[in-house]
């Protein structure tokens, strides 16, 4: 009786590859496969398994999350615009600060704080422009969106009141506090623009 060495699964898989005909290392396996009914049956089972894998049903998403993606892309576009506007303001501020520092009128740490303040003010201005462009007053909105927008506007008004008093000198505010107030304003403005763009439910408010 002679020992028969059948093809391994590795060889059967390799023989299915597009480059198999040019693989000299597979010549013996190919010759064996052509003559061996057992290996041919195994190869056939492998082909059937792959065919069944390909025939598995297409799985589809249960939830439609396109609105989420769209909101994210819109937000990115807006932030890009805000950053550009911020950079414009920043460049101007940097120029002025450079003159002041070189002229010995301001220390570098004061300069950094003023730079931050200019940037965050520029971001706030860009968001104001974005909101004006959306013109929310002229558009109908659902009750929840109107309520959320109202709450955001009230909080912005409170911050504006403090900023005004700081500007008039009636409420002394340290530089870092002032920057924080402006940052808070930018965050609220950003949320407000989002609400008018996508509705309260879409922005998770």
């Amino acid at each position: 009786m002679t020992d028969v060495t059948h093809c391994t699964l590795d060889e059967l898989l390799a023989l299915r590859e597009p480059d198999a005909p040019s693989e000299p290392g597979l010549a013996a396996a190919r010759a064996h496969l052509a003559a061996c009914a057992t290996c041919a049956a195994e190869q056939e089972r492998l082909e059937q398994r792959v065919a069944r894998l390909r025939a598995l049903p297409v799985l589809l998403p249960v939830r439609d999350r396109y609105a989420e993606l769209e909101a994210r892309l819109r937000r990115e576009r807006r932030l890009r615009r805000v950053r550009w506007a911020g950079l414009g303001g920043l460049a101007t501020a940097a120029g002025i600060l450079g003159i002041l520092v070189v002229g010995g009128m301001m220390t570098p740490s004061q300069g950094a704080a003023d730079q931050q303040l200019s940037q965050v003010q520029a971001e706030s201005r860009a968001l104001e422009q974005e909101l004006a462009r959306l013109d929310p007053e002229s558009r109908a909105m659902d009750l929840v969106t109107a309520q959320v927008a109202g709450q955001l506007q009230a909080r912005i008004a409170t911050i504006d009141d403090r900023l005004q008093r700081a500007a008039l000198g009636t409420e002394p505010v340290a530089n870092d506090q002032l920057i924080e107030l402006w940052r808070e304003r930018v965050g609220l403005m950003d949320a407000l623009v989002d609400v008018h763009l996508t509705g309260a439910s879409q922005v998770g408010l």
């Binding site: 597009p18 598995l56 993606l69």
Partner: protein
């Protein structure tokens, strides 16, 4: 498949997307959301992960559209982004990868087609993440071992051996072994 619309109008749709038309981007999304989700779902463990991959894929498509030069099919380009996002998700989650629970899996002897298919789904889901990904990317999506190795940051030999081991297991679990 909705892709047929894009095959006919790909250049026009892409030009509109690049020009910032949100409706055109939604058309692109709708055309490919099914196949992208299916690919992601076959690689990821949960539907939630696959949904996230779908989001990340189209976010990347939107960001990288300027780099798509029309070499190869649009679906091929989108699919490669989806596959790489799904594999990235796997790496991030670091799911179980080697400990298939084969002991409690007992396929019945003769089977009807539906039952066979159910068994195949179950067997596929029982494979480790890497092996399942290789099986799907190679046998169903048609990627080569070189491409799979590159996507996984491994060698083509790694992909080949993962595929062989996976088929050994599938064959055993599905009761297809030669007596």
């Amino acid at each position: 498949m909705a892709e047929s619309y894009l095959l006919l109008n790909a250049d026009a749709v892409l030009a509109e997307v690049r020009a910032g038309d949100p409706a055109a981007f939604e058309r692109l999304y709708r055309a490919f959301e099914g196949p992208v989700f299916n690919l992601a779902r076959r690689i990821c463990r949960t539907a939630e992960d696959a949904e996230d991959v779908l989001q990340e894929t189209f976010y990347e498509v939107h960001k990288s559209l300027a780099q798509y030069r029309g070499e190869g099919s649009l679906w091929g380009w989108v699919r490669t982004i989806a596959a790489s996002k799904a594999l990235m998700r796997l790496r991030r989650n670091k799911y179980r990868d080697t400990d298939e629970l084969e002991d409690d899996f007992h396929p019945a002897a003769p089977k009807q087609d539906t039952l066979l298919r159910m068994d195949l789904e179950a067997a596929l889901g029982r494979l480790g993440d890497t092996a399942r990904s290789v099986v799907w990317l190679h046998d169903v999506e048609g990627y080569t071992h070189d491409e799979i190795g590159a996507m996984m940051g491994k060698t083509p030999s790694f992909s080949k051996s993962q595929l062989a081991r996976a088929h050994e297991k599938l064959r055993r679990w599905l009761g297809e072994e030669v007596a």
